[in-house]
Symmetry: C2
Subunit: 390 residues, 2 copies
Amino acid sequence: MTYSAFHPTPRTLMGPGPSDVHPRILEALSRPTIGHLDPQFVTMMEEVKALLQYAFQTENALTLPVSAPGSAGMETCFANLVEPGDHVVVCRNGVFGGRMVENVERCGGIPILVDDPWGQAVDPDKLAATLSAHPEASIVAFVHAETSTGARSDAQALARIARAHDCLTIVDAVTSLGGSELRVDDWGIDAIYSGTQKCLSCVPGLSPVSFGERAVERIKQRKTKVQSWFLDLNLVMGYWGSGAKRAYHHTAPVNSLYALHEALLLLQEEGLETAWQRHTLNHQALQAGLAPMGIEFVVDADARLPQLNSVWIPEGIDDAAVRTQLLSEFNLEIGAGLGDFAGRVWRIGLMGYASQPKNVLACLSALQAVGLHADTSPVAAAQAVYASHR
Amino acid sequence: MTYSAFHPTPRTLMGPGPSDVHPRILEALSRPTIGHLDPQFVTMMEEVKALLQYAFQTENALTLPVSAPGSAGMETCFANLVEPGDHVVVCRNGVFGGRMVENVERCGGIPILVDDPWGQAVDPDKLAATLSAHPEASIVAFVHAETSTGARSDAQALARIARAHDCLTIVDAVTSLGGSELRVDDWGIDAIYSGTQKCLSCVPGLSPVSFGERAVERIKQRKTKVQSWFLDLNLVMGYWGSGAKRAYHHTAPVNSLYALHEALLLLQEEGLETAWQRHTLNHQALQAGLAPMGIEFVVDADARLPQLNSVWIPEGIDDAAVRTQLLSEFNLEIGAGLGDFAGRVWRIGLMGYASQPKNVLACLSALQAVGLHADTSPVAAAQAVYASHR
């Protein structure tokens, strides 16, 4: 069989990620590959670390991109911090909390669950009660922005409670980094991981992580080796450490790191708080435009993620048919529901470069075009939101 | 601190990898990102699998690129095939055999070593004797092309011996895939991993792997869960399986997969055997040109890898100074020695797109320019090899 070159149809990516990649980032991606130990590359690695510190709002020295997607970033946190027999509280209110439980178990840890319904934030009181009942717990893990439901949990409050019970925190910020307020140092988060393909507008494949001193200390005090050689931070640190001591570990994904560097430059140019505000504004406009179509949000207003809008599919609407038509006629991708939400929920992403008025209006118009009825103009409602912010 | 865009100086990459990336691959890399569940992307994934089957010369259904670098491909093999208490024979004749031992241990396996000196091929007789002495062994792991030394082992012979002792094989083909003869099915290899950044001329960051039926059966018969969630083939298979049943596992590195698709198209266009011959010819020309400079090979002629030329640094030559000068004046990267070979050996890569006469001549000329004395013309010697093949 002979195949030919693959030329994807350009899409507008308004699902749960990957999100639209900024043209500057695609251009950076295709710059000439150089060696992963080239002095120029090493200098760039240092800049990536510093720019990630800014994005995470941290001074943690151990801040770097893992050379694999977000789920490997999750595993980096658990594999390094959890030893067999450790008791780990996992707050579970969606798919990714469930994946954390899997990670704890595969590291030989003992999970203690704090369950909340899908679409709701993690309940801080439940966490506090669970920690009081389980003094043997030494780690608390939770998802800041649940990509499967669109719910934002109060990371600051949860981290404070964990610390009051002398627990380290592992935080999933895959969908929040760059899109929602996140302050690793101010909030006292010990270990955090994210992805590049959401609010950083970068290509998928890397997972920025950051570890504070307490987490590093715990890793150094391990009695057993980290079960993953590839993700063992004792080795990764040698590679991403300061210039002179750099030791070969694996071959870095050179071009993907060019892309991340450019993505982080874009974030620095815009300013982190401005980016958070932009995500909020476009979310408000989308929300205003969905209302005349009778489309309601899954998550209560105070816990809604601006970058991931989970909405109930109206009665009588064929989920798959609508998404297929949006993709084939308008080259517009929105996300399906996962797990319990399959067939019942759409996830409309407004992440990173995709979070812009043009996309909000295009999405509203396309939804109307594929058959969603509106009593008044969705586009006008969205425009009114933008007008009021001018 | 404010940073600016990173524009790497274009280099010629003649180290141990990454190798020069073909311009068509860099272009493919920057095509528009689409969703990882987009029907167009799913079709492309199927093509990547089929093209990888061609590259590996296998009909194994479980043939796919792991979404992380080669060392994660190695870990995929060990984490899925080794359970606690398993006895695994590891043939060690360089850095990567040593890394295999690390992997066995971290999976709870018990390594049994077959050691050969750095720079030599694995001795098949030693392997046979070890297997006879250790009937408890159920897996044999070895490196086909040792990137740290430039030695090629006889994968066909080693796999035959392993099978005669009812052992599965795990083979490192990071540096051999696309550059040296490799026939997974004919040679009876059960599990194999490679990298994209060597003889495929692609960007670093992915690890093609292939598993035969006996390996898949062993994974299905496991008594314990695979310790890595990210690398668990039971889950990865659900994602890379045939179209209809595709289940979300992680977000694929979309653009890197465009690049791999293009790289595999290039290989198909050239033809696998033609690519192997090209690597051999350019190696012979380099070898002929190095001789007048008195530069000798580390590896005996019958085990020399054409794509990775390990040579002794001549007496009185300053390793680091030469490599620095080659890089700064000629934008030419050659590789340093690793481990025991640090400071004593250069590794001159002629991999994939970098394996072309232009580079051979440029390297020889540059070595002369930075002070390596030659009795007769290195370039003329190399040209004579090319002339004799026209």
